[in-house]
Every structure is written in C-alpha cells, then in structure tokens.
Amino acid sequence: MNTLARSQSFGALIGVAVMLAVFTAIDFSGWWTRATIANVIHFAAILGFLAMGQALVIMTREIDLSVGSVYGLTGVAFITLTPDLGVTGAVIVALLIALAVGFLQGIAVVKGQLPSMIVTLGGLFTARGIIYVWTGGSVHNFSEDARADWMTRLLGGELFGIEAAILWLLVIGVVLNLMLWATPFGNRLLATGGSEDSAESRGVLTDRVKIITFMLCSVLAGFAGILTLADRPQTHVTLGELLELEAIAAAVIGGCLLTGGRGSLIGAVLGGFIVTSFRYELIALGAPSSWFITFVGIVLIVAVIFNQKLARRLGHSV
C-alpha cells in the first residue's frame, strides 16, 4: 500500500549494493571478516536510532541539529547518575532529560514560530555546555556492580548471541514503522510535513505533532547514547560530537526529502550503515581519519542529487 513511500529507500538500497560491491572489489579480505562486519553493524545500529529520529523530524519539514549533544548529555547523565539511582533509575532519568530537551525545543519551534535550525543549534550548544559543566571535563566510569546489573546487560551485552543494540534497533524500528505508516498519528505526521496549512484545515493539531516528533527524536538520540555507554561505560565530554551531521546525512541518504512529508525509516537505517561503513573502510585503507568528514559530505551531496532526480522522475514536486 505504501509502495511509493517505501520506494523512498530505493536510493539507499542501491547505495548499499554499490558500496558493498566496491569494498568487495578493492578490499575483499579486509572487509569481509567477522570482526569488521560486527564492528560496522554495531556502530551502524547506534547511528540508526539517531537517523530514524532525524528522519521523523525531517518528515515534518523541520530539522534537529541537537541530536549529537543530546546523545552525549543522556549518556553522561546515565553514567553519572548510576551511583545514586542505580542503573535502571539512571536510565529512566536520563531518558526523561532527553524527552525534556525535545519538548523544550519543540515548544520553542512551534510557539515561538522559530526556524528549527536555529532553535536546535541553540540546543546543540546548550546541551554540550551542560556536559562540560556537569562532568567538569573529567571522565566517569562504571563500578563493577553496575557493569553486572541486569539492565546494563540488557542494553549493552549480547542477547541470544546477538548484540543488544541490534535487537533493540530491530524492535524499535518495527514499532516506529508501524507508528508512521499504520496509525492516525503517522498519517498526521506525514500530512504536517506535506502541507502544514492543509493538515491544520482538517483539524490536525500540527503543533502537537511537531512537539511529539521532536521529543521522539531526542529520546531516540538519548537511547542511542545509553546503548553506547552500556556497552563501553566511559564518558568523555566530546561524546557524540558531530554525530548530528552523520544522522542528517544518514536520513538524507536514506531518502528523506528536506521538503518534508516523504522519507523512509528503513532508508535512514541503511543510510546510517553506509556512513558507518565508509568511516570504517577509510580507516582500514589507511586514509587519515579526518578524511571521513569530507567523504560524508561528498556522499551526502551525491545522495541529495540522486534522490531529487528520483523524486522528480516519480512526479513529486520537490
């Protein structure tokens, strides 16, 4: 039923196929090893959460630049609060902090009628500033007890022999896809991004839709931060820096049009896989790690051009 909407991820599918073919051709023995694939998939899964949240926000025709900082802030909160609240308590409070950031940004965007690019840029700096103040620039760590806690293992360990982050991505990805394509809320979210005036004229509370979407995006970013640290419990003040760019790149590579109303969560996750793979393979091939950002930029531009051409070919007005 959503064949067209689903085909938004068409570009990302082709991208994955081309990328794997190239990597196979130039670095067969380096790429196709268990360690490489496991590593890439782990980090791609983490980025997948951020990319799905970003995709939802882009589908409402907004953008969220704060996800890298929210990822960091939630992770730091999780580690720092654990000694006082226990692991489970810390997870809950950390996610509430993420929700609050999303709520405040959403309110500022819709009630203040401000561009989300500016509001969330403010959020990016504010959340990063709080990380510096809160940690005092020092590194926090987990106690042995906390590492052994069932919640830590549920989030960071392996479940049924598969990494927890991957299982969580599958579960939450299915839930979000159902929400987007099969519920009234999803219909209103897509309508808000497609034409806000029309949605409003049909009685859709577009402000509420946007606030909820910003909250979803922040909480997904925060959850990704918690998953990262449950796996490797060590904070540093730069945790998640520049991650917002990777998330946006993943969503756009995955077929989300910045004009709103069209996109794909599956595509966003595939986009995250492409971005992560490039990072890994560039390092493996001996390129300086700073080249990665340049490469993401190039891939992003190619993806935008490709997706625009594809959308026009399908007759969309973009």
Binding site: L178, A182, T183, L190, G194, S195, S198, V204
Partner: protein, 258 residues
C-alpha cells in the same frame, strides 16, 4: 423553510491583519436549511469571513454565536468537531498522501489491536473509492494514488466529495466550481441544493452572481470588508444585485417580495 433562531450569528465582527482592516463591523445571520450566496469582488472579505467561521482566523472584536452558544475559541478542529465542513480553494489536500489518507485526515477510522489504534485502511479505501467514482474521476485513478497525480478539477472533486460525505450541519464552499468542467460544475451545484434540502446550512462563495442567484435563497454581498447587501433572491433579480456590486452599495430599488 429556514428556522427562526440562526445557526450561525455573526455580530459586529472586526478583524485586523496588522494595520489592515479586513472585516469592518460585519453582522450576518445564517440559518439551517438555507443556501446563502456570499458574493463580492476579490479582496471584499468573503474568504476572510468564512475563515473566521471555520476557525482559522480569530476576530479582533465582535461575537460569533453557533447554535445558541458564543464561540470563544477559534481553531479548525473545533469547527470540524462542531460539524462545520469547509471546502477551501488553496488548502485541504496534502500532495504527499494518497486520496484515502487525505479523505480521512484528522478523523481516521481505527481498528484497535491490543488497545493500539491502527488505521483501518480497508474502510478508508472503500469509502473514498466510492466517492471518487461518484465524482467521475478518471478510471485509472485509485484511492491509493497520491493526490499529486490529480488534475485541478479532480482535486476539487475530492474536497467536495469529502465535505459532502462528512456533512453534518454546515458546508462552506469557497469558489467550489473554479477549475471545474461544465459537467462537474453542474454536479457540484446539484449537490449544494441537495444539502440544503437535507436541512443543512450551505454557504456558497463566488463572484459569479448570476450562477449563485439560481441556486441560493439569499445573497450576501461584501465589499472592502463590509457587508453591503443582504437580500432574499426572491426580492432582487441577479441584474439588480449585480448593479449593487457595481455601485458598491445599495442604490437600487428593491423589488417587493413576492
């Protein structure tokens, strides 16, 4: 015949957009079972007035009463919940969604699975298919197609079909026959009359006085944000009303009511 108490009562309505005085002390009553033609040139304030009635604009001062109660809050959702359906010219359909999804936007039917509301796509598809067939959309257009594929006339048909399907008390039509073929236009006008016969209030906005004079039982003329005429079609001919518009106010002898 129209009721005695008006369904919608507008009293001394003023609306400013910044310094621009868009509606000037407008008072008008609308009754159930009426088909009122709201006529005037571009910029006369017709669309602004109905945008107050459908909750998009909040008046600067003055009162709006609906069904004996004063309206305090203005929001499209409240208007729709009260049974006011509006067919607007430029908005109402989201290009990126299918016809079925547009049809039910904001009032989606759901099937609950473990308490979670899921879209009832089957129902959405069936009813919207029925309506687009009635309105004579191209045979190869299905309810699953995105609205983007439709022509101007087809888009208008979807909007009108939707309003008629969800009719409950008031249907407001803003230039409903723009972009329509002759046949589609007749169909729309016939529907407007049917709705009136069913006891609904129909407000029909147009600048074609001759077309609406044949349909409406009452004509309200606006100019520069003011109401300048409010007459039964039985008391004034279309030519006389056109003269009122031309003169920008009543300077024409009123014919005795028959």
């Amino acid at each position: 015949m129209p009721d005695k108490t008006p369904l919608i009562q507008v009293k001394n309505l003023d609306l400013y957009f910044g310094a621009f005085h868009a509606l000037k002390n407008v008072s008008v009553d609308f009754h159930s079972g009426e088909l009122v033609g709201l006529v005037g040139d571009n910029g006369a304030g017709k669309t602004t007035l109905i945008r107050v009635l459908c909750g998009i604009h909040k008046p600067t001062s003055g009162e709006v009463w609906f069904d004996g109660r004063q309206v305090k809050e203005f929001h499209p959702k409240l208007a729709i919940d009260n049974g006011i359906e509006t067919i607007q010219q430029s908005v109402g359909l989201c290009d990126n969604l299918s016809i079925a999804r547009n049809f039910y936007l904001g009032r989606e039917p759901v099937r609950r699975i473990m308490g979670i509301p899921f879209l009832d796509m089957g129902k959405m598809r069936d009813l919207s298919t029925k309506v687009i067939r009635e309105f004579g959309l191209r045979d190869n257009v299905s309810a699953d197609d995105e609205v983007e594929r439709l022509s101007g006339g087809e888009r208008q048909s979807v909007k009108i079909g939707r309003a008629v399907e969800f009719k409950n008390r008031v249907v407001i039509m803003d230039e409903p026959t723009n972009h329509l073929s002759v046949r589609e236009r007749e169909h729309v006008n016939e529907l407007a009359l049917q709705l009136k016969e069913q006891g609904l209030l129909v407000i029909y906005i147009t600048h074609d006085i001759f077309q609406v004079h044949k349909l409406a039982n009452r004509i309200v003329i606006m100019e520069n944000g003011e109401k300048i005429e409010d007459a039964l079609t039985s008391s004034m001919t279309a030519d006389q009303l056109e003269e009122v518009i031309r003169q920008g106010g009543r300077k024409v002898e009123k014919r005795e009511a028959v």
